[in-house]
C-alpha cells in the first residue's frame, strides 16, 4: 500500500491551492474553465482513506486515519450529482451525502454536505475548476469566530482522486487543511 503517513508534499500542494482563492471569493465570479462536466471524473464507486485532523485551528498535528466508501451518481441529466458516503469513523460509523449542482449562468458549482448525525442543510461551498482542480468556498462560524472554508477536488490519476478541506481564520490569507480524502476507484 502507498498509504503513508501525512506527506509534506500534500501540504505544499494544498497550500499552493490557496492562491486560487481570490478568484472564487465571490460565489458569482465565473470560473472560465468551469463546466457541467467538471465532476465527471468523480462518478462511480471509490474506496476512501480519510485523514482528519483531530483538533481544528488549534495547531494540532494529531490526525485520525480511517476508511470509508463513496458512490457518486449523476442527477438532472448531468447538471449535478449526488453521492453516498459511508465513513468508518472510529467514534462511530455514519452515512453522509454530497449534493452538487451546476449553475450554468454563473458557471459555478454549489456543494452541500449532509451528515446523518445532524441531518440539516448548511450553506454550500461554491466555486469552480481551474484546470482539473476544483476549489470551493464558504463563510462559516467555527467556535464562535468567522472562518472561511475551502474544499478542493482533484483527479490525480485514472483511478485516484483527492478531496481536501481547509479552514482559514484570517480571511483566506492562510489555510489549515483539516480533512483529506484519498479516493481509489473500486475494481
Amino acid at each position: 500500500m502507498e498509504w503513508g503517513t501525512i506527506d509534506r508534499r500534500l501540504f505544499l500542494a494544498t497550500g499552493a491551492g490557496a492562491a486560487l482563492a481570490p478568484a472564487f471569493t465571490h460565489a458569482t465570479s465565473p470560473a472560465t474553465e468551469t463546466r457541467s462536466d467538471g465532476f465527471d471524473f468523480l462518478l462511480g464507486r471509490w474506496n476512501v482513506r480519510h485523514r482528519k485532523l483531530r483538533h481544528r485551528l488549534a495547531g494540532s498535528q494529531d490526525w485520525q486515519d480511517f476508511p470509508g466508501s463513496l458512490n457518486v451518481a449523476p442527477i438532472l441529466g448531468g447538471l449535478g450529482n449526488f453521492d453516498v458516503n459511508r465513513l468508518d469513523d472510529p467514534a462511530g460509523a455514519y452515512e453522509a451525502h454530497s449534493l452538487r449542482l451546476y449553475n450554468p449562468a454563473a458557471r459555478t458549482w454549489s456543494i452541500w454536505w449532509l451528515d446523518a448525525r445532524a441531518p440539516a442543510l448548511i450553506p454550500p461551498v461554491v466555486g469552480g475548476f481551474s484546470g482539473t482542480r476544483g476549489s470551493f468556498f464558504a463563510d462559516e462560524i467555527f467556535e464562535d469566530r468567522p472562518i472561511k472554508v475551502r474544499t478542493t477536488y482533484e483527479p490525480l490519476a485514472r483511478d485516484r482522486a483527492q478531496w481536501t478541506q481547509a479552514f482559514s481564520a484570517d480571511g483566506g490569507a492562510s489555510w489549515e487543511v483539516n480533512w483529506i480524502m484519498d479516493f481509489r476507484r473500486m475494481a
Partner: protein
Amino acid sequence: MSGNPDSARDFDFLIGRWTVRHQRLRRRLAGDTQWDAFDGTMHARLILAGQGNFDENVIHLPTGSYQACTLRLHDPHTGRWSIHWIDGRDPKLDPPMVGQFTDGVGTFFGNDSFQGRPIRVRFLWTRPDPSGARWEQAFSVDDGASWETNWIMNFEPAEKDKAA
C-alpha cells in the same frame, strides 16, 4: 416541542420506483379550469440512514421532458420534514416546504412569489389507495384563507416494483 418518534418513517411509503400521472393547471391564479395531463417517472431512495430521502423525477411535459429532484430531510427534534425541490432546468435548491404528517396526511407549507406577488404554497401528500400515493400543490394569495390546486401527481408502483 418533541416530535413523534416514528415521524422519520413517514415517507417510507414513497421509497421505490413509480409511474407518475401528472395533472397540471394550465394557468395559475387566473381562474383557469384547463388542465394538462402528462406522464413521468419517479425514483425515491432513503438517505442519511433513514433521516431523509432523495428522489429523481423525469417529467414529460407537453412542451418537452425535464428532470427534477427532491431532497427531504427529517428533523428529529420537531418531527417535521423540510422538502427541497430542485428543478433541473435551473438547478438550485429552492427554499424548503416544511410540515408533517397528521392522521396519514402530510401537509407542508412555504412562501414564494408568483408574478411579483407573495404567495403561500402548500403540498399535500395522501394515500388514496394502499399501493399508490398522491401529491398536490396549491397556491394561496390570501395567506392561506383560500387555495387553488394547480398540480397533482398520482403515483402508481412501476412495473418492476409491482412484481416485488
